[in-house]
Each structure stands twice: as structure tokens, then as C-alpha cells.
Symmetry: C2
Subunit: 141 residues, 2 copies
Amino acid sequence: MKVNFESLIDELKNKKIRLSHQRLKVLEYLTTNYNHPTADQIYNGLHDEVPTLSKTTVYNTLSSLLDAGLIRAINIEDNEVRYDINTHDHGHFKCESCKNIYDFNIDIDLFEADQLSGFEINDKNVFFKGTCRSCIADGKE
Amino acid sequence: MKVNFESLIDELKNKKIRLSHQRLKVLEYLTTNYNHPTADQIYNGLHDEVPTLSKTTVYNTLSSLLDAGLIRAINIEDNEVRYDINTHDHGHFKCESCKNIYDFNIDIDLFEADQLSGFEINDKNVFFKGTCRSCIADGKE
DNA sequence: TTGTTACTTTGTAATCATTACAACTTGATG
DNA sequence: CATCAAGTTGTAATGATTACAAAGTAACAA
């Protein structure tokens, strides 16, 4: 999944969100490091380049990007939130050995649960856990 | 979804997990209050009946029940884990207005993502967010 | 029934991600 | 380039969860 940095900036302008230096750097980080990072990883990853960056700003920025719908939050473990620049519907697989998160395509509309008729659905999430192919090959399962 | 308390006890015995008073009370609470409670709700709900119960015990108990596969953890929000006595595959819908969690049936095997071939999948989760029917009827959406 | 022992429980303190807050700074608009 | 609402920063607070060590108890055997 390739995400265009320029089009993200256009979206920020459309939504009247200021293009602050810090915000652009966080967005750039997310488009460059497409590995579903945590807030802490973003903070550490940008620290050399933007020494004045504070962790509060990372959280604030992620919060406004979430509100604007430019990114999505992934809650798989209870002790970490990961952020995804890919806002298209897709599933996540977390390897319990190497901890990596893999994307996979799903047709999420296959779930037309009649039990939810009359419900308004804003957000659909699918995630699996297990052991990824390369960890199995390495005998780490 | 009806869960049989007796069969849960048999499972504990099979898995050599001691039937302590506290553990049985937590299990009983989960079978009686089938509303996906948090650890805190379980603790408060049992406090009158088991005044000596500590919150650490609730966490310890939930942890061993999870390990034994008798319950499942639900991570929808980043700031709360909910526990589910129903370990069969099913989806969860969280209403962002009334905060209730609804179950719905899904055929989770519809997801045979070829991208995950060679992966070992241990756990499949599906959750939606939105507004439930009764909150929509009450104009709370 | 009792003794033994390993497993459990408990309360307190620590941890760690996230949020609140108030002073300072800056992007956008005219 | 002046203005000011919005953004940033550091510190302190919050709140769920975990670590730990002392005290208690379930399970098993004799």
C-alpha cells in the first residue's frame, strides 16, 4: 500500500488543519515507515531530526489526524496502540513471535450480519494473531 | 449464548487449575453477567459478596482463565480490556453512544486470505463500532 | 483426619502509556 | 508584518495493570 504524501497535505488543507512542522514530520514518518508504529516509536524515530519534539505533540498530532480520518488506530494488544496510514479496509495479522503486523486484504462487506440491521456502523476491524511464515520457517513458533 | 457453569468447572479440573473460592466467583460472575465486563466491573460486582477479594486476584484469575482458553479478552478501546465467557467465534459491535457491546454471528472462515498462506492463525477477531438501534431510536446518534 | 507443599491470595508499591494543564510559540490570514 | 487562534512543550497527574513478598489454602497422600 503506497500512500501519497502530497495528497495527505491537500487533505489537511481541505480540513483546515494547520501544516505545522511537527505535524508534517509525523505524517512523513508514517508514510515512510509503513510498519504500524506506536506513538513511542514515532517519537523516538523523529527525535534526532526534530530534537524539540515532545511526546505530547506526537499524541496531539495523532489525535487530530485520527479525527480528520487521515490515519487509523489499531488496538490489538491492550498495552499499545499502533497507527496506520492506510485507511482503506484491510485486516491485520500480528505475529506473536516477531511482533510484526502484516496487512492482508479482506472483503469486509461479506459481513452483512442481519443481527445488526438498524445499526449504524462507522468502523470495521479485523485482526488475527498467530505465527508468521518466516518465524515458522525459523522454528520460532 | 448460554454457558454452562458446571462444564467450566470440569474444564478447570481437566487443566489442573485449582478451584479456589475467588476463581469460582469470578467465573460465576462472568456466566451470570454476560455483558463483557472489565476487570474493574468484576471486582466491584463481587465486592459485596467476597469482601476480601483483591483487584490483583481478579487480574490473576482472568490471566489464568485466558491461558486455559476458558475466556477471551476483547480489545476494542485502548483504555479498557473486556472479558468474554463466550469463546466461540463471533463478532462484537460496540455502540459509541451507550457503550454496550453486542455480539453478532459471523462466518469467520470466509476470510481465507491467500496472503496469509503459510501463517499459523491462533486467534481471529472482528469488531465494529457505531451506534446501536436503540440509541438511534432515541436520537442519540 | 491431618500434614505437607505448591499454588493462590492479598495489599502495597511500582510501572508505563496516555492525558491535563498552563506558559510559550507559530501558521495563516489580512 | 501584525494579529491571534491554534499548536507546542515540559511537567505533573491519571489510571489500568503488574511486581513482589508475606500469609492463606486446595489438593493429595498417608
